[in-house]
Point group: C2
Chain length 202, copies 2
């Protein structure tokens, strides 16, 4: 058997995939921190350890790179809510958890939240982006709806609204509260969140 080189050589396809991943990773960080217009393709390429040639070999342009991030990431930030809806533990202990760790956990998603909201603004002004975003919103709503249905089946809880509408209301309120907490971390926000959850989840 021949010597295996220190670094296994990548096939051309593998190398390209890896390049693409690294560019996306750099772009995610930079777009989140500096925004769409505040991030240049030179910065993205350099951060990832490439040059602009690599960007244009993998994406048709800046907008395309930005949209690719949406596809990878839109579902991120919803994980906490998902845990909460489907969780088996008592409402009381969930409330305690929220009251205790609300702000510290939120800090981690600061850049991501900025990215998401910036995307909303783009979407309001660009029909192509709007369509991509609303499709993602639809998927999220359906997913939460099914989580809620499971919860109802398990606990027998009664909701004050139809499940679909409850899911939408939850999605809306959670996002708005998160944004407000990042902009202006008033200490009563976790309490408001818990109370709203109690009202919405019955």
């Amino acid at each position: 058997m021949k010597d295996i080189p220190k670094k296994t050589r990548l096939s051309r396809a593998e190398a390209k995939t890896q390049t693409r991943e690294e560019l996306l990773k750099a772009a995610r960080t930079l777009f989140a921190r500096y925004g769409f217009h505040g991030t240049s393709l030179d910065m993205v390429a350099e951060t990832a350890g490439y040059t602009k040639g690599a960007v244009y070999a993998n994406f048709s342009g800046k907008e395309d790179l930005y949209l690719a991030l949406l596809d990878d990431n839109i579902e991120k930030g919803h994980k906490d809510l998902e845990d909460l809806i489907t969780s088996d533990v008592s409402f009381e202990s969930i409330s305690n958890e929220i009251n205790k760790n609300f702000f510290t956990e939120l800090e981690d998603s600061r850049d991501w939240a900025a990215f998401t909201v910036e995307f909303f603004v783009h979407a309001m002004r660009d029909d192509n982006i709007r369509k991509k975003l609303t499709e993602r919103i639809r998927v999220a709503q359906e997913y939460y709806t099914s989580c809620l249905e499971k919860r109802i089946a398990a606990t027998g809880a009664e909701l004050p609204m139809p499940v679909g509408q409850t899911a939408t209301a939850l999605l809306l309120f959670t996002n708005a509260l998160e944004l407000m907490a990042l902009l202006n971390p008033q200490p009563e926000l976790p309490h408001i969140y818990v109370r709203m959850l109690k009202m919405l989840l019955g």
Copy 2:
């Protein structure tokens, strides 16, 4: 008495004030429609009937012009909620009104909403802007709180949360719902809004 010129001559100070006002008016429209980066100072100057020189004579730069708009305008857009809280008419007729005119009335505030949200993004990345914004949010919360207190005094309604927290929740939910309706006008949104109001206002 000498002839009065067709147009009364303005003093230099008056002329400068007028120029400033016209620039602000043009900037308000353009920033709202095309966003911060989508609006050039050339566009602003030209729309107002001046040249870029006039902009730099009245503002220290683009950012300064943008911030000047915040001071004039942040409180806009909340009028509907205010009317609703303080209104004397029955909850039923308010609900009907919302269900009927929700989307048509919203269309008018499309540009304004985009501007507001864009400002939120700026605020997350710029501490100076963040301070200005949170101060405005504080004022809005206080105002809604006092509206709610009046309503309680008048109707004797009981709220499920303390007034201050109810005001915050209302503010959050209304803004989030408005944004969602502009991005993705699902027909059930007004119903969700009415139900949430019922839950929050008791």
